[in-house]
């Protein structure tokens, strides 16, 4: 069960308010009429399916109904980052790997957490809600 910070509402809400909408940052081909079958099929159907850090599109379906992005780990399910449409992720698989090399693992900016993980983040959220 996720506890997700909507970047537009600025509040943590339960997963049931949201819908996952698949991989984020997929650009529609600029010139669809002149796109080959291979390119069009790749755009429609072929997806990254990483075992690790993944950037996803979500919608706050029964809240503000806005789309936004989540960077999440697909094994631990930890939410690493939430950011608005049009923005780029600050945490990626590459940035995490290099951070891990330079020092101990230190990820996330607090505040977004799955239930069942450490509750320090949940405390943060209570602070931000008021």
């Amino acid at each position: 069960m996720f506890y997700i910070l909507c970047p537009y509402c600025g509040e943590h809400r339960e997963e049931e308010e949201f819908h996952p909408k698949g991989q984020a940052h997929i650009a529609r081909p600029a010139d669809p009429e002149n796109t080959s079958d291979d390119e069009w099929g790749d755009y429609l159907f072929f997806r990254d399916n990483p075992r690790g850090v993944h950037h996803e599109l979500w919608v706050h379906a029964v809240g503000c109904r806005k789309f936004f992005n989540i960077t999440r780990h697909t094994v631990s399910y930890e939410i690493l980052e939430v950011y608005k449409m049009g923005e780029q992720p600050s945490i990626t698989a590459e940035s995490l790997a290099s951070a891990e090399k330079s020092q101990g693992v230190q990820v996330g900016d607090g505040g977004q957490q799955t239930v069942g993980a450490s509750d320090s983040a949940a405390k943060d959220s209570r602070g931000t809600k008021v």
Partner: protein, 416 residues
Amino acid sequence: MQRYSGFGLVKHALSHHENWQRQWRNPTPKKEYDVIIVGGGGHGLATAYYLAKEHGITNVAVIEKGWLGGGNTARNTTIVRSNYLWDESAALYEHAMKLWEGLSQDINYNVMFSQRGVLNVGHTLQDMRDIQRRVNANRLNGIDGEVLDAKGVQDLVPIMDCSKNARYPVMGASWQPRAGVARHDAVAWGYARAADALGVDLLQNTEVTGFKIRDGQIHGVHTNRGDIGSKTVGCVTAGNSGVMAKMAGIKMPLESHPLQALVSEPIKPILDTVVMSNHVHGYISQSDKGDLVIGAGIDGYNGYGQRGSYPTVEHTLQAIVEMFPIFSRVRMNRQWGGIVDTCPDACPIISKTKVKGLYFNCGWGTGGFKATPGSGNVFAASLAKGEMHPIAAPFSIDRFNTGALIDEHGAAGVAH
């Protein structure tokens, strides 16, 4: 291989069942095999068995990173049916169904295949139209099927709430009498034992860490127990297929999702068939042990964690209680998740790849168990001949670029 029989059971009873032969060997990997199968689940083991039995290729290794049948083979809800809409998938699943019907004899292992029938319940007018269309298509393809009205459903399943007062009243169902359930673990073990007896090496605790590819041709795999060579490699790794494909530099139209299931405490026999509902979204059967086996839908997000979210399970149990008010106080015993690799058109990928000699059999999504014998059979034929079996050919990965999709979302048991 020591054959199993009633006589053998009596004979071994005299020695207190202490002298049974081990079901399979635990061999050390050879340097080179004719064919390597990556993934020791039901589909992989079935592929190895049919390679040895039907094509005489016995120098085969099945490489499994954990233990045999420990992934989705052990996590599904054991339903077997073949009532799919389109000709391509109907051919594939019906091929599997025919093999199921003789499987226990074929591999000398009781897979407890029980043809207790499957009901796909309809709750709306559109459901019923879709059911009629699907059953008609099934019958044209020689697959048994009937359309039942609400009374017909009630006669088959007296404990189901088929009254008009239900929130989503049952209007009818499709009924496939030949469908049913099978003991999932026994399927993996039976295939493993039969394949081993024909000379196949089952390499457990062996993890593939990379593919050896030179000049667009596969030459083997890297594993944690050293390199193993082969010019033909079949990858049958279910939820992990996207990761395996990436190792080989291939992109797949797959997304891996958690799919959850749960079982109740054992109760006395009360449900002698399988009931599935796409509309309220739940499916249920009762195992021979007595527990109710309940399948949920997939969680919408990608995940490899073999666990899903609580609301998904809650939603499923709401549907079950809606259909079966009598189960409202049954306690659940265990709940778990598996990783399913779903395809955009809810059909599998059984295909060659751009790497010569490397084949993939994946994308079974939420419904791979029922196809285990058929999938293994056609995949083995394809590996043996180097040409895709006619039943497997439409499931090529090319269909996502040519547009020749096989849209089975309607007949897939789980909405995704």
